[in-house]
C-alpha cells in the first residue's frame, strides 16, 4: 500500500491536526509515513493544507503529487487541489460549506459530509474536522478505529477528559455517517 492524502481548508478549521492525527496513527500502525504542511506567507489569511503520505516502504517525496485522497473543508481548497487527485481518487467535501461541485468526472466516488452542520448539532463547531476524520477513516480504512482514537489522545493531550469523549463522539458520528 502507498497512498497520499491532502487535507485543506481555512486556517483554524484544524486541517493540520487532521493530517497529523492520520500520520500519527499510521505510524503507530507501523507504516512509513511523511507529513508536510503548508507554511509561511502562504497561510497568511488564506487556506492551510497538508499532505500525508503512507506506505510500506520508505517515502521519497512528502509533497503532494498523484494524490489518492483529498479532504476539502472549504470551497477554495476544492478548486486549488482537485486537479492533483489521481483518476479513481476520492474527494471528501465539507458539504455544509461547499456548495460547488468538483470538475472531475474521473474522480467517480465522491463523499459529501456536512461536518460543520453535524458539529453544530453536537453543539461544538470545533470538532467538524474530527467528524470528517471519522468519515475519512471509515472510507479509507487506512488505520483502525481504535488505533486512530488512541493516537488522537496524546495529540490533543493537555485538554481534559471530557474533551476526549467529545472527540470520541465526534469521530463516531463521522464514522457512522457514511453507510458502507
Amino acid at each position: 500500500m502507498a497512498i497520499k492524502a491532502i487535507f485543506s481548508g481555512f486556517d483554524g478549521q484544524g486541517v493540520l491536526m487532521m493530517g497529523y492525527s492520520l500520520a500519527h496513527s499510521a505510524m503507530n500502525q507501523d507504516y512509513h509515513v511523511t507529513f508536510f504542511p503548508s507554511y509561511g506567507a502562504e497561510v497568511r489569511g488564506g487556506t492551510a493544507n497538508c499532505t500525508v503520505a503512507i506506505a510500506e516502504e520508505k517515502i521519497a517525496s512528502p509533497v503532494a503529487s498523484e494524490t489518492d485522497y483529498m479532504v476539502a473543508m472549504n470551497a477554495p481548497s476544492l478548486f486549488t487541489f482537485q486537479n492533483k487527485i489521481t483518476a479513481g481518487g476520492v474527494i471528501f467535501m465539507n458539504s455544509s460549506i461547499i456548495k460547488a461541485h468538483p470538475n472531475r468526472p474521473d474522480v467517480d466516488i465522491r463523499r459529501a459530509i456536512p461536518c460543520s452542520e453535524l458539529a453544530e448539532e453536537m453543539g461544538n463547531s470545533r470538532v467538524a474536522n474530527i467528524i470528517m476524520m471519522g468519515a475519512f477513516i471509515k472510507k479509507t480504512g487506512i488505520v483502525t478505529f481504535e488505533i486512530y482514537l488512541k493516537s488522537l489522545e496524546p495529540i490533543l493531550g493537555s485538554r481534559k477528559k471530557s474533551a476526549a469523549e467529545i472527540n470520541h463522539r465526534a469521530f463516531s458520528t463521522g464514522f457512522d455517517y457514511l453507510k458502507n
Binding site: 507554511y39 509561511g40 502562504e42
Partner: protein, 353 residues
C-alpha cells in the same frame, strides 16, 4: 526505542538540547521559525539553558561566539538571507577556532527570494561565504533520522576540531515530519582549556582572530588548512544506493537525494535504466575519493541539485575528467516529483548512447 513524529525544525532543536546545547540565539525567518520557537519553549527549562531572540542574525552570531568561548555548547539557526548576514561571524568563529553549530534551512534565492525548499547556498556553505581562508564542516541531512543524528554529531565534531559546523537543510527538511528515534548523544569529551571563565589566580587567556604579523597569520592559515585535511581524512560520510550494477550514477544530496531515490526505485520497478545514487552526507569536506572510486567502472554521472549547479563543481573536481557528467537543476524553490525526475534520467540516459 519509541518513535517520534516531529517536524525537522523541532527535531534539530530537541536533538541539540539532548546533545547538551545550552545556548541558543537566533532571529525569526521562514522556513526555520519552528526551530527558534522550539528553543524558546524548551531551552529555558533545561538546566543552565539560555534562549535569546537576538535583535538580528548578526547579533545572534556574536552571542554564540561569546557563549562558546565561555564553554557552552552553542547553536544558532536561520535561513538563506539571514545566513548571508552571519558570514563575518562565521569567518571569525573559524579564525578563533570556537566550537559552534549553525543551521541553515535554505529557501529560494537570491535576494529576498521565496520561502520554498532550495539548495542555492551550497557554495556559500562549502566555500566559506565569509572572507579569508577557512572551511567549516557542512552536513547535508536527507531524512528526519539524519537530522536527529547529525545534529548530535555536529556538536561532537565542533568540539573535537574546534570549528563551526553547519547543518545545511532546506525548507522541506525543516517542515516535514517522519518517524524517527533519538539515539544517545556522546558526552562532552574534549579539552576545555581554550574556554574563558576568568583567569582565577592563573595565567590569563586570549581568544582572537587578529594576528598582525604576516608570518604568524600565514602559519595560522595553514594550521586551519591542515585541520581541514584531518577532518577530510576522518569524518567523510556518504551513502551509495543501487550502485553495484548501475550504468548511471545520480549524485544528489538532501531533499534532492530523497527525490532521486524515489525516481531510481521507479526506474528499477519499470525496469528502465539501471541507475544508482551517490549521496554526500558531509558536503564539506566532500567525499572526493569515494566518488572518484566509482568512476572506475561507471562512466556516466548525472548531478541533480535544486540549484543552477553548485555541488556540480565538487563532482567535476572529484571526477577530474574520468567520466561524463550531466546536470539537472531546479533552482528557486521548484521541487520536482520522483516521476518527473525519473523521466529526466531516462531522457539523459537515452540521449547519451
Amino acid at each position: 526505542m519509541n518513535k517520534f513524529l516531529m517536524s525537522g525544525n523541532n527535531i534539530i532543536g530537541e536533538a541539540a538540547i539532548r546533545a547538551g546545547c545550552r545556548f541558543y540565539a537566533g532571529y525569526p525567518i521562514t522556513p526555520q521559525n519552528e526551530l527558534a520557537e522550539y528553543m524558546a519553549e524548551h531551552m529555558r527549562n533545561a538546566e543552565g539553558g539560555v534562549f535569546i531572540q537576538s535583535e538580528s542574525e548578526i547579533a545572534a552570531m556574536h552571542m554564540i561566539t561569546g557563549a562558546s568561548a565561555a564553554g557552552a555548547r552553542v547553536m544558532t539557526s536561520s535561513s538563506s538571507p539571514g545566513i548571508s548576514l552571519k558570514q563575518e561571524g562565521i569567518s571569525s568563529l573559524a579564525a578563533c577556532e570556537l566550537p559552534s553549530v549553525i543551521v541553515n534551512i535554505m529557501r529560494g534565492g537570491p535576494g529576498m527570494g521565496n520561502i520554498r525548499p532550495a539548495q542555492g547556498d551550497y557554495f556559500q556553505a562549502t566555500r566559506g561565504g565569509g572572507h579569508g581562508d577557512y572551511r567549516t564542516i557542512v552536513f547535508g541531512p536527507a531524512t528526519c533520522q539524519e537530522l536527529a543524528d547529525l545534529t548530535m554529531d555536529a556538536f561532537d565534531l565542533a568540539d573535537k576540531y574546534r570549528t563551526p559546523v553547519m547543518i545545511l537543510a532546506d525548507g522541506m527538511m525543516g517542515q516535514m515530519m517522519e518517524p524517527f528515534i533519538f539515539t544517545k548523544p556522546q558526552p562532552r569529551q574534549y579539552s576545555e582549556n581554550f574556554m574563558l571563565r576568568g583567569a582565577g589566580d592563573g595565567k590569563s587567556k586570549i581568544i582572537r582572530g587578529l594576528i598582525l604579523d604576516a608570518i604568524d597569520m600565514e602559519e595560522h592559515n595553514w594550521k586551519l588548512a591542515r585541520k581541514h585535511e584531518v577532518i577530510a581524512k576522518n569524518e567523510i560520510r556518504y551513502e551509495t544506493y543501487q550502485t553495484e550494477d548501475a550504468e548511471l550514477i545520480v549524485v544528489a544530496y538532501g531533499t534532492a537525494a530523497r527525490i532521486a531515490k524515489g525516481a531510481l526505485k521507479r526506474l528499477r520497478e519499470h525496469n528502465k535504466v539501471k541507475a544508482g545514487l551517490f549521496r554526500p552526507i558531509t558536503l564539506c569536506p566532500f567525499p572526493e575519493a569515494q566518488l572518484r572510486s566509482l568512476s572506475g567502472k561507471i562512466k556516466d554521472f548525472l548531478v541533480f541539485e535544486m540549484s543552477t549547479g553548485q555541488m556540480l563543481d565538487d563532482v567535476r573536481l572529484s571526477l577530474q575528467g574520468y567520466a561524463d557528467i550531466g546536470f539537472h537543476g531546479r533552482p528557486g524553490g521548484a521541487v520536482p516529483t520522483p516521476a518527473e525526475l525519473a523521466n529526466v534520467i531516462v531522457r539523459y540516459y537515452e540521449k547519451k548512447d
